[in-house]
């Protein structure tokens, strides 16, 4: 029931993901952040099995950082995407990671880009993509309303339309979503769309 979807707009790329951590019928947590900030200008939205998702995305994040430390320049989005796909492909015939990934990034020379990487190491550069049961609803919404060069407001409206559709039509729909964007100023959290507020974690 995990939903991850994303799209490319005018000078930015956007990834939205649900935020529930579920174990069979039990919802353990409704504010789990599944969109990792890979580095200053990259987002990695992932959905998949519990251990695999966190372990694989953290592994990719640390390797991306290592490249930057070693070489003094950050990886491009395309390079990071190909590296991720390569790691999935290497593990595929031994102990595959069941993680589906949308990698969004902003490069100074290319602009925003979005990569669709699924659990069997498929890689596509796309304008819009989605994973999970939510994709049945969000993909057609995005196909209908998307056009290249959408402004941030238009893109967030489209995301909200997709979220409403998922909430209406998916039988066990996740209550909360998180939206993150990456543009020339960097990767950051844009908003949460919550229907259930978990108790806030106390700060010391």
């Amino acid at each position: 029931m995990e939903c991850v979807f994303g799209l490319v707009g005018d000078g930015f790329a956007l990834v939205a993901a649900d935020s529930s951590a579920v174990n069979s019928i039990l919802v353990h947590k409704s504010n789990e952040d599944k969109i990792m900030i890979l580095d200053s200008h990259k987002l990695l939205g992932a959905s998949g099995e519990a251990g695999d998702r966190v372990q694989f995305t953290e592994y990719i994040q640390k390797n991306v950082h290592l490249y930057e430390f070693r070489n003094g320049i950050p990886l491009s989005t395309a390079a990071a995407a190909n590296f991720t796909r390569g790691e999935l492909a290497q593990a595929l015939r031994k102990s595959p990671y069941s993680v589906n990934i949308l990698l969004a990034g902003y490069d100074k020379d290319i602009g925003p880009s979005l990569y669709y990487i699924d659990y069997i190491a498929t890689l596509h550069k796309v304008d819009k993509g989605a994973f999970g049961y939510g994709s049945f609803f969000s993909l057609s919404m995005m196909d209908r309303h998307y056009h290249s060069g959408m402004s941030l407001k238009e893109a967030v409206d489209l995301v909200d339309k997709c979220i409403v559709e998922i909430r209406t039509r998916l039988v066990v729909s996740p209550p909360n979503f998180v939206i993150k964007i990456v543009d020339k100023d960097g990767a950051k959290e844009y908003a949460w769309r919550e229907t259930i507020k978990d108790a806030e974690e106390p700060t010391a």
């Binding site: 353990h28 099995e49 519990a50 251990g51 372990q55 978990d198 108790a199 974690e201 106390p202 010391a204």
Partner: protein, 270 residues
């Protein structure tokens, strides 16, 4: 040939492979394929038993963390013990709860305690709850698919204040404020979610935990025994209470004499 097979397992051995060591010592050398098969069999067996016997919960509140659990162990329909310690003391300021396979939980919690102590000695400071839970989570992740059954919560107090993590044998690790694990957990969640406030006193929080465990043991056949409640504060953990849930039942719902509506009367002797 024995020597070359032994070399293969030695190469494939990871830190913590003590399970396989003991099998080698016994003299029967299962092939690696057989070990995998045993693993997957126990996975099936555990899938049936995994959720069948626990009601454990933990939550963070203003004063610290409350950890509570029942004490029943069941094997299918047989209650094997009513006095199992399901809250494991990792070190004086960290507790772990046990759900799933008893041996797995006890062993890996003990192992975690060792690693935490080694961290203290090496770094001259206590390990954080984040670090301890990540250590355990990485170990369990490396044994994924081999039949471990562990659903545990690591609760403790470190420099950042109270910390609570849920770690399971699938490799999942979640940071949160309220968790309940085990077959009785849905029942416990209901009572816990409804009665929870962040600003409770220690006594109120302990009572909420006790009540939630009681309600879980009432409805879930695989949970029962004694409801233990622990509190973790800035000075470490302290056991608050251990009450038999049967006695708790009559404390919460005392017997009220009700008028008899219809009484059977002996037929008059003819």
């Amino acid at each position: 040939m024995r020597p070359s097979w032994r070399m293969r397992t030695a190469c494939g051995r990871r830190a913590g492979d003590t399970l396989f060591d003991s099998r080698l010592a016994l003299g029967n050398f299962p092939s690696t394929f057989e070990i995998k098969r045993v693993g997957s069999n126990s996975v099936e067996a555990f899938e049936k038993l995994k959720l069948l016997s626990r009601a454990t919960l933990a939550f963070i509140f203003k004063e610290g963390v409350i950890v509570a659990a029942d004490s029943r162990a069941s094997m299918g329909g047989y209650i094997s013990s009513q006095s199992v310690k399901k809250i494991i003391e990792i070190n004086p300021y960290m507790l772990g709860t046990m759900a799933g396979g008893a041996a797995d939980c006890q062993f890996w919690h003990r192992n975690l305690g060792i690693k935490c102590r080694l961290h203290e000695l090496a770094n001259k400071r206590r390990i954080s709850v984040t670090g301890a839970s990540k250590l355990l989570s990485n170990i369990l992740y490396s044994y994924r698919g081999m039949g471990l059954s562990v659903g545990t919560m690591i609760a403790g107090w470190d420099e950042k204040g109270p910390g609570l993590y849920y770690v399971d044998s699938e490799g999942g690790r979640l940071k949160g404020t309220r968790f309940s694990v085990g077959s009785g957990s849905p029942y416990a969640y209901g009572v816990l979610d409804n009665g929870y406030r962040f600003d409770m006193t220690v006594e109120e929080a302990a009572e909420l935990a006790r009540r939630a465990i009681y309600h879980a043991t009432f409805r879930d056949g695989a949970s029962g025994g004694v409801a233990s409640v622990y509190y973790v504060g800035p000075d470490g953990w302290k056991k608050m209470s251990g009450d038999d849930v049967g006695e708790l039942h009559y404390k919460y719902y005392p017997v009220v004499p009700t008028p008899i509506e219809q009484e059977m009367v002996d037929a008059p002797a003819a």
